[in-house]
């Protein structure tokens, strides 16, 4: 018959389970307090402000707003464009990063001379701070004195310099390109780690069975990258969708709102118009959107885990 072990304390015996629970609670307390103070409190405050009229500089704007803040956000003439730009920015960045990151990982996984040097060089963009990368590219892409336009015109690729960040048709593809340039090494690192974990026997067996390189890539390599792909793609969808600094540094949402995304719209509500209620409403809408993305990720993750475990 099992009996609960007793732990003697100064005053009365306490069961081991209870002592373990107390210790666990004590050990977790700092983390819970941090979460409550640094995430919970601001989150609750945002939710409260979402349903109230809050203006930092106009005390006359106050009181319960109901859904007014949501209505005003949706009625904002820049809202539709910001949603569309956020989707394009996120999808373009993630697809580009995935494709280039995968290609770079496959190349770096081959045994070639100077492999270590190539790997280090590939990772350099990721080491550059966003603000430095953004400002440097902005100067390089300048139509009057930027090196990119100089080289493109010098070698006859284009007749006239292109105002990459100042032309509303070029601005979004350009900021996506620069974001891909900076972020693809993260994918490369992740894919490289996964590629190196694939047993060489599988490739040998496939080769013996007459599989072409393309067939080996599709049937051996890609299945082993599914798990890491799922994680980094979903993480980057959320990271890119909520990213503020990259576009802000390069275009500030311009020219004339051509690259404005939802985070930049939130910034404008709060820091230009001081309309905290509206900023909170849009933040809540983004929170719901990213939470849905996380739910989708969780379901895929569980399904994939079940498949792998069998």
């Amino acid at each position: 018959m099992a009996t609960k072990a007793k732990v003697r304390t100064g005053r009365r015996p306490v069961s081991r389970d209870r002592a373990d629970s107390r210790f666990a609670a004590a050990a977790l307390a700092p983390a819970w307090i941090f979460l409550a103070v640094l995430i919970g409190y601001p989150l609750v405050q945002v939710l409260i402000d979402t349903f109230n009229h809050v203006n930092l500089i106009n005390p006359a704007v106050s009181g319960f707003a109901g859904l007014d803040n949501f209505r005003e956000v949706v009625a904002d003439p820049h809202f539709g464009g910001a949603v569309r730009n956020t989707v394009v920015w996120t999808a373009g960045s993630v697809v580009g990063e995935y494709a280039i990151g995968l290609v770079a990982a496959l190349l770096l996984n081959r045994k070639v001379r100077g492999q270590a040097a190539f790997r280090v060089m590939t990772f350099i963009p990721w080491l550059v701070p966003i603000i430095v990368a953004g400002m440097t590219w902005a100067w390089m892409l300048n139509p009057d004195f930027g090196i990119v336009n100089y080289l493109l015109t010098k070698f006859g690729v284009i007749d006239q310099p292109i105002n990459f960040l100042g032309n509303k048709h070029w601005a979004m593809p350009t900021v996506i390109f620069v974001n891909v340039w900076r972020s693809f090494p993260y994918y490369t690192i992740s894919f490289l780690a996964a590629l190196q974990a694939i047993p060489g026997d599988l490739y040998e067996a496939a080769q013996i069975d007459g599989a072409s390189p393309w067939r080996r890539f599709i049937s051996v390599t890609m299945p082993h990258l599914r798990s890491v792909s799922l994680i980094i793609v979903f993480i980057h969808i959320i990271w890119t969708a909520v990213n503020f600094d990259f576009i802000w540094v390069m275009t500030e949402g311009g020219p004339n709102y051509a690259t404005i995304t939802l985070p930049i719209l939130i910034y404008r509500y709060s820091m230009k118009e001081f309309n905290v209620g509206q900023a909170s409403a849009l933040s809540t809408m983004m929170l719901i959107g990213t939470s849905l993305i996380f739910v989708v990720y969780y379901r895929y993750r569980r399904k994939l885990s079940e498949e792998i475990v069998g």
Binding site: V7, T9, A19, R22, F23, A26, A27, A29, P30, I33, F34, V37, L38, N55, L56, I57, N58, P59, A60, V61, I131, N142, P143, D144, F145, P161, N163, L165, G166, N167, K168, E252, G254, P255, N256, R268, M271, K272, E273, F274, N275, V276
Partner: protein
């Protein structure tokens, strides 16, 4: 016993960890030692933003007592003369007054955002630099101390021009001491215009008449336009002032209102300013890319001679020694329309004191000291608000001569209004709308912004 110790240790760690992530607490102890301030500085130094932190105090390990610590936020160019001279002046101030100054440096944009956030969180510094555009907002936030009494007893107050003092006053109260004041002038590369055989234009019509002559002859654009960023609203303000159009007009019963859409004559004035943007672009005098350029690109293009003439400030003098192309620059009044008059934007920057400062007296003294003749002569010899601080350089006397034509922003919250100005110029330069459409749109947008901030006349 072991488990109890672990529990106690874990619980004890909580307040320590929380203290570690807390914000700097202001030193309210009037007898706080310089040594205690060192801890504050070290903490601030771990801030993850790009601000830098310098304790210019005479900290000698706690041997001297401080009357209190003044948290000062500045926006000087790091490594420039102003920084070195100001740090020395801060040291002298500390010696003379017994206060310790804990100074941190930011860009103006960063400072603006941090003040808004700090005001919401109730954790403000004691004294701050700022742009005139911030005054209305900060005043509405209720964070600015009334420095009227300190101004009245300030020995250098008579050396400040009326226009600069006007920029320090809101609702009849002085809210800052001017630590820097500059005007805008029309700067011209004389050699480039001479090579093109073009005289220095005096009017908008002269500028438009140049067309592509300068570019054809020299490869440089004749005239610089700022299409976006913080500089663009200032530029538009000047052109509007030259046709006597006001962004927001003070109303008899209090408050402000844009009256362009109420009065066709006023709308016609504003339309004229927008038409200048359209015409100067259409004439070929301005670089079409500048429709989306901010101050970074436009200043760079002018300094290097890619633009022959440009309305800008005397801060460019700092680059004269390293850029040989600047040797031929001359200073002129800003071109104006026929029938109008020249104007310039006076950027008089106030050193503001926070109303809830625990060291209000010390912060006010520091603010006064910054604007004093000794400090201005040492740190701002080319950009001083004091008439007695000057040099023979064109960057000082030729700019100072334009101060009488100066205009400033109305004392209202400007964040939304300046954004609307940028959007309005984009309507004509990027979206192809007419000057009248842009002017009418801006008039309505300004009134919407005034309503949102509570500045609109009832």
């Amino acid at each position: 016993m072991k488990k109890h110790l672990t529990l106690v240790a874990a619980l004890a760690a909580v307040p320590l960890l929380l203290a570690g992530c807390g914000s700097d607490s202001k030193d309210t102890d009037s007898t706080a030692s310089a040594g205690s301030d060192t801890a504050t500085t070290a903490d601030a130094g771990t801030d993850t933003d790009a601000g830098t932190d310098t304790d210019a105090g005479t900290d000698d390990g706690g041997s001297t007592e401080s009357k209190g610590t003044i948290e000062l936020w500045t926006c000087w160019t790091e490594g420039a003369d102003t920084e070195a001279a100001s740090l020395e002046q801060i040291r002298l101030f500390e010696e003379a007054t017994g206060y310790t100054v804990n100074q941190q440096n930011f860009t103006y944009d960063m400072l603006h955002e941090k003040i808004i956030a700090s005001a919401a969180g109730g954790n403000l510094p004691d004294a701050i630099w700022g742009l005139p555009e911030y005054v209305g907002e900060f005043y509405k936030l209720g964070i600015l101390a009334d420095l009227t009494a300190a101004w009245d007893t300030w020995e250098d107050k008579d050396k400040v021009s009326d226009a600069v003092k006007e920029a320090m006053v809101i609702d009849g109260k002085v809210i800052g001491f001017p630590y820097e004041a500059t005007a805008r002038a029309y700067l011209v590369h004389d050699d480039i215009l001479a090579e093109a055989g073009v005289a220095v234009p005096e009017t908008w019509e002269d500028v438009i008449a140049i067309g592509t002559k300068v570019e054809d002859a020299t490869g440089s654009s004749a005239f610089g336009v700022t299409g976006t960023g913080v500089r663009e609203p200032q530029e538009l303000l000047v052109y509007l002032a030259e046709v006597d159009a006001e962004l927001a007009t003070a109303q008899p019963g209090g408050g402000y209102r844009n009256i362009w859409n109420d009065d066709p004559a006023e709308l016609a004035k504003a339309t004229k300013a927008f038409q200048f943007y359209i015409d100067v672009m259409a004439s070929g005098a301005a670089n079409p890319n500048s429709a989306t350029y901010g101050w970074e690109e436009t200043d760079e293009n002018f300094v290097t001679g890619l633009t022959a003439t440009f309305v800008t400030g005397n801060w460019l003098s700092e680059r004269e020694s390293t850029v040989p192309e600047m040797a031929d620059i001359s200073v002129h009044p800003v071109p104006y329309p026929e029938g109008g008059h020249t104007a310039t934007y006076i950027e008089a920057k106030p050193l503001m004191v926070m109303a809830d400062s625990d060291v209000l007296e010390g912060a006010t003294l520091l603010s006064q000291a910054f604007a004093s003749e000794a400090w201005q002569s040492a740190a701002f010899p080319t950009r001083s608000a004091l008439s007695t601080v000057s040099t023979d350089s064109k960057w000082v006397k030729d700019f100072a001569a334009l101060l009488e034509y100066g205009v400033v922003y109305p004392p209202v919250a400007l964040g939304e209004i300046t954004q609307a100005q940028i959007d309005a110029v984009a309507l004509v330069l990027q979206e192809g709308q007419s000057a009248e459409e842009a002017a009418a749109w801006l008039g309505n947008a300004i009134n919407d912004a005034l309503a949102n901030s509570g500045d609109l006349a009832q």
